[in-house]
Amino acid sequence: MTSDEDQPQHSLEHLQAQTLAPPPSPQDMTPIAIAGLGARTLEGLGAGAIRIAEEVGGMVVLAGQVMRALVPPRIDRRELFKNLYKMGNRSVPIVALTAFFAGGLMMLQAGPFVIKFGATALAGWGAGYAVLREIGPILIALMFSGRVGANNTAELATMTVTEQLDGLRALAIDPIRFLVVPRVLAMITMLFALTVIGDFVALAGASVVARAMLGIDWSTMYHSFADNLAPYDFLHGIYKSLAFGFAIAMSSCYFGVTVRGGAVGVGRAVNAAVVAAAVSIMLLDFFLTYTTG
């Protein structure tokens, strides 16, 4: 079994002992025992809070280093184009499939209304609006985080645990400038581009589902999209995707370069990176929606 640093081994045994031991009788729950339980809970909460603060701080510092490295923009061009291709072109199929299903799903959700009220002209309104503003960018970002972010963490983490980053430093090459900056730029650019593609695929998916399952004409769908969607709906999703790309890049690079401890550590770093990316996508989405409508 893998031993977890942040989930100490004794907590496992403790859990087992707790679940296997007979439940404490009311007489056993003395005030001291309750106080002990409270102290342990507080301790756990505090440790979690410190860990989160450490991770967020580390990402902010890394972001600062990336910004600093960009000031005279000396970027390794080969590394940048390699990453653009690997992260962008190779992700098109999975993003297109996700977007297609996302568009279809929104149409399926709008379906009952369309059938009930016969409002075929409004079919594209609900589906298109939800896809362009929320579901499209979020689902594409989540898939991107899973495919590209996780892959990038795994790659950087493998380089870190095999001491290749130290090797670069020994050759007087700054690993941030050489490895992290091209990846950050590639991820932001490519998530942006993939969201643009994905939005159109999602609208196509919605039209296909509308045609196949609800019997709405292509032209009706087209006019329904064109009449009800404003350019700003599209832009709203697009600039959110820039923020999501930045968040995914930061979390995946941070966990990649700070990994410790062999194969187990690499797995855990990837896990932590995708979780951090998912949380930051949701938080950023909320704040961007609130501040810019």
């Binding site: 279809g104 959700q109 929320e134 979020i138 689902l139 797995g267 909320f286």
Partner: protein, 274 residues
């Protein structure tokens, strides 16, 4: 030109062959998991199957450890969705009386289980693949086989059972949090009366049936896909990284496809009156 076409066909063919192999293997893992559950039922406890208390431990790791993650993510997305819906309505009609009822219908029949499933695919799927993948590359899986234990019975069956239970529980909690967060947002930002928002008139039994079906389907899919990716890990730390990546992608995509299939089937079964 001809060479280009031939190499294109070759690449495509290799991809198709790989995909078919992967699907067959995935299917085998799924069947073995079901068989493992049946074997576990027919045999006395503490035999050659899983260790004692393993399901409880997995319930703790899959459920309790994801609790805060699910609450935070679904809470925020609930706020965003209500905000966007009200924003759009404010431009068209300005009538918010339907927002709460429709939001509830959407949460119960789709967003609650699906977004929980997506989030769990990220967190739980990556965790399972990382753990099983590390065991695979350090040859602990071979050691299990050597001692006459079936790795699927030992590793995947407890996670499978725990994941189904905990997805159902977490989806319920997540849906409630999402609904509450949406109601608060509608009230604070758009002045929608909470009594109007928290109106359960449109909730039907079939929505809740759909909720349960989707949660169970995602809960069953995530550990199987992730365990399959973990068992396929090769090499050392790089292999574990690849396995974890594949698990996140595979289980998220499984959730989206299952959602699509189940929603389409439900629309057919109910004749559009969902």
């Amino acid at each position: 030109m001809k060479r280009f076409i031939v190499s294109g066909i070759e690449t495509l063919g290799a991809a198709v062959v790989d995909a078919v192999h992967a699907v067959v293997e995935l299917w085998l893992v799924y069947v073995s998991t079901i068989a493992g559950i049946v074997r576990g039922l027919s045999r006395r406890r503490g035999g050659r199957g899983r260790p004692k208390g393993e399901i409880l431990r997995q319930l703790y790791y899959i459920g309790n450890k994801s609790f805060i993650f699910i609450i935070v993510t679904l809470g925020f997305i609930g706020m965003v969705m209500t905000y966007q819906a009200c924003l759009q309505l404010s431009r068209v009609t300005g009538d918010y009386s339907q927002v709460g009822q429709q939001f509830l219908r959407l949460i119960v029949s789709d967003f609650g289980p699906t977004l929980t499933g997506m989030m769990l695919a990220t967190r739980v799927g990556a965790g399972i693949a990382a753990e099983i993948g590390s065991m695979k590359v350090t040859e602990q899986i071979d050691a299990l086989r050597m001692s006459g234990v079936l790795p699927i019975d030992y590793l995947i069956v407890p996670r499978f059972i725990a994941s189904i239970i905990m997805t159902l529980v977490l989806a319920t909690i997540g849906a409630v949090v999402m609904y509450a967060a949406g109601g608060l947002t509608a009230n604070y930002s758009w002045g929608v009366n909470p009594n109007l928002f928290f109106d359960l008139d449109l909730a039907r039994g079939r929505h809740f049936a759909l909720f349960a079906v989707k949660s169970i389907a995602y809960g069953a899919a995530i550990p199987v896909v992730a365990g399959f990716c973990g068992l396929r890990a090769r090499g050392s730390s790089e292999g574990v990284g690849w396995a974890t990546t594949a698990a996140v992608i595979g289980s998220s995509f499984a959730v989206i496809v299952l959602d699509f299939l189940i929603s389409a089937a439900a629309l057919f079964v109910t004749g559009g009156d969902l």
